[in-house]
C-alpha cells in the first residue's frame, strides 16, 4: 500500500470514528439478535441471583472477572445451583430491554452483583466491587466471591 493509501485509510477511520462518536448514546441490540435477559420467576421462597453485568465491548480483564466469578460459584455451590437456590446470570446491559439494570444497581462498569429474592421480590443486593482489586490474585478472588455469597444463601428474610 502506498503512503497516500495509508493516509487515506487512516482519514477514513477518523471520519467513521467522528461520526460514531457524534451519534447519540443508544442501547445496542448486539448482532441484532440478542434478547433482553429475563430471569424466570422462582417458586422458591428464597433464592440468590448472581449477576455478571457486561457491555458489548469485552476487555481481557472483564472476561477474567466473568470466568473467575463463574468458577467461584460453580466450584463452591454446585448443589445450590442445581436446585435453583442460586442462579448465575450473565447480562449485557447494552442490549435493549436490559438498560434498567444500570439504574437498578447503580452500575458504572462490568460488575458482579448478588441479589437476594424473597418470593420473587428483591430484598437485598450487593455489588462485589473488590473483584477489580483482587483480579491479580485468583485464590483471594474466589474466596472473596464465595465468602460474600454464603451469607446471602443463608439469609432468610
Amino acid at each position: 500500500m502506498t503512503l497516500r493509501g495509508v493516509t487515506a485509510l487512516a482519514i477514513a477511520l477518523v471520519t467513521v470514528g467522528i461520526a460514531a462518536a457524534a451519534a447519540p448514546v443508544i442501547a445496542k441490540n448486539e448482532a441484532g439478535s440478542e434478547q433482553p435477559t429475563l430471569v424466570t420467576p422462582s417458586v422458591l421462597s428464597h433464592r440468590v441471583i448472581a449477576y455478571y453485568f457486561h457491555t458489548t465491548y469485552r476487555c481481557a480483564s472483564c472476561r477474567s472477572i466473568e470466568a473467575y466469578s463463574r468458577e467461584a460459584i460453580e466450584s463452591a455451590f454446585a448443589d445450590e445451583l442445581k436446585d435453583g437456590r442460586l442462579v448465575w446470570k450473565v447480562v449485557n446491559v447494552e442490549v435493549k430491554g436490559n438498560e434498567h439494570f444500570v439504574k437498578d444497581y447503580g452500575l458504572y462498569t462490568k460488575s458482579l452483583v448478588l441479589v437476594n429474592e424473597d418470593r420473587g421480590k428483591r430484598t437485598q443486593w450487593k455489588n462485589l466491587e473488590k473483584v477489580w482489586q483482587l483480579l491479580q490474585d485468583k485464590d483471594r478472588f474466589l474466596r472473596y466471591v464465595q465468602d460474600e455469597t454464603r451469607p446471602y444463601l443463608a439469609a432468610r428474610t
Binding site: T7, A10, A20, C59, S61, C62, Y108, T109, W132
Partner: protein
C-alpha cells in the same frame, strides 16, 4: 496520620493496578513512546513523565470533584467516559500520529506555519506530556472505572480526602509509564551515544512515536467504534 498514609498508599496502589492491567495497554504504549522519545536527555524524559502523571492527576481530581459534588451521577459519568472518550481518542491519535510522521498537513496551516505547528506538536515537551496525560486519563476502560469509582472514590470519601487521594491515584497510574519511558530513553540514548548518533535517534524516535500513535488510534477505532474483538 498513619491512617492517611495507609489510604495514600492504597490510592497509589490502585493507580498502579489500573496502569498495569491489559485494558489501557494501547494508550500506555503511546504514552511511553511519547514521554520517552527525548533519548538525548533522560532528565527531560523524567520531567515529561512527571508532567504526564500530573496531567492524569488533574483529570482524576476534576472527575472526583464533579462526582463528589453530585453534579453528575457515577453511572452516567463512568459509561460516558468509557464509551465516548475511547471513540474520540482513536481518531485524535490517528491524526496526531500522521502529523508527527509528516504524512498529513493540517488544513489551515501552510508553508512555514504548517512546519512550525507540526514541529511544535512533535516536539511539545512538558506541556504536551501534561496534556496527553489529561486526555488519556479521560478515556476510561472497565478496569479504571472499576478501580476509580469502586475502589478509590469510596476510599477518598471515607478518608475525607476527596481531592488529594484522587491526585495520588492519578500519579500512580502514570508511574509505570514514567519508569518504562526513562528506562527506554536511557537504553536508547546509550546505544545512540555509542554510535555517535543521538540526534538521529531522536528524529527516528519522533517518527516511531507517530507510528505508535497511528497504530494505537487504529486499534481504538477498530475495538471501540467498529466493534471488533481484538
Amino acid at each position: 496520620m498513619t491512617e492517611f498514609l495507609a489510604a495514600g498508599a492504597s490510592a497509589l496502589w490502585l493507580g498502579i493496578l489500573t496502569s498495569i492491567s491489559p485494558c489501557p495497554l494501547a494508550s500506555n504504549i503511546a504514552a511511553v513512546s511519547y514521554v520517552g522519545r527525548r533519548v538525548a536527555a533522560p532528565h527531560r524524559v523524567l520531567l515529561a513523565g512527571l508532567a504526564y502523571s500530573l496531567g492524569r492527576a488533574v483529570t482524576y481530581v476534576v472527575i472526583a470533584a464533579v462526582v463528589v459534588a453530585s453534579l453528575l451521577s457515577v453511572p452516567s459519568v463512568s459509561f460516558f467516559l468509557q464509551q465516548r472518550m475511547n471513540q474520540v481518542l482513536g481518531p485524535v491519535l490517528i491524526v496526531t500520529g500522521l502529523v508527527m510522521i509528516g504524512w498529513l498537513r493540517l488544513p489551515g496551516f501552510t508553508g512555514h506555519a504548517a512546519g512550525a505547528f507540526e514541529q511544535r506538536l512533535a516536539g511539545a515537551g512538558i506541556p504536551g506530556a501534561a496534556g496527553l496525560g489529561a486526555i488519556f486519563a479521560l478515556s476510561f476502560c472497565p478496569v479504571s472505572a472499576g478501580l476509580f469509582f469502586g475502589g478509590l472514590l469510596p476510599l477518598a470519601t471515607g478518608s475525607h480526602s476527596r481531592l488529594l487521594l484522587p491526585a495520588i491515584y492519578g500519579l500512580g497510574t502514570g508511574l509505570p509509564v514514567v519508569a518504562l519511558a526513562v528506562l527506554l530513553a536511557v537504553g536508547a540514548g546509550g546505544i545512540g551515544r555509542a554510535f555517535d548518533a543521538v540526534t538521529r535517534f531522536e528524529r527516528v524516535a519522533t517518527r516511531v512515536t507517530g507510528g505508535v500513535f497511528l497504530l494505537a488510534g487504529v486499534y481504538l477505532v477498530l475495538t471501540h467504534i467498529v466493534g471488533l474483538s481484538i
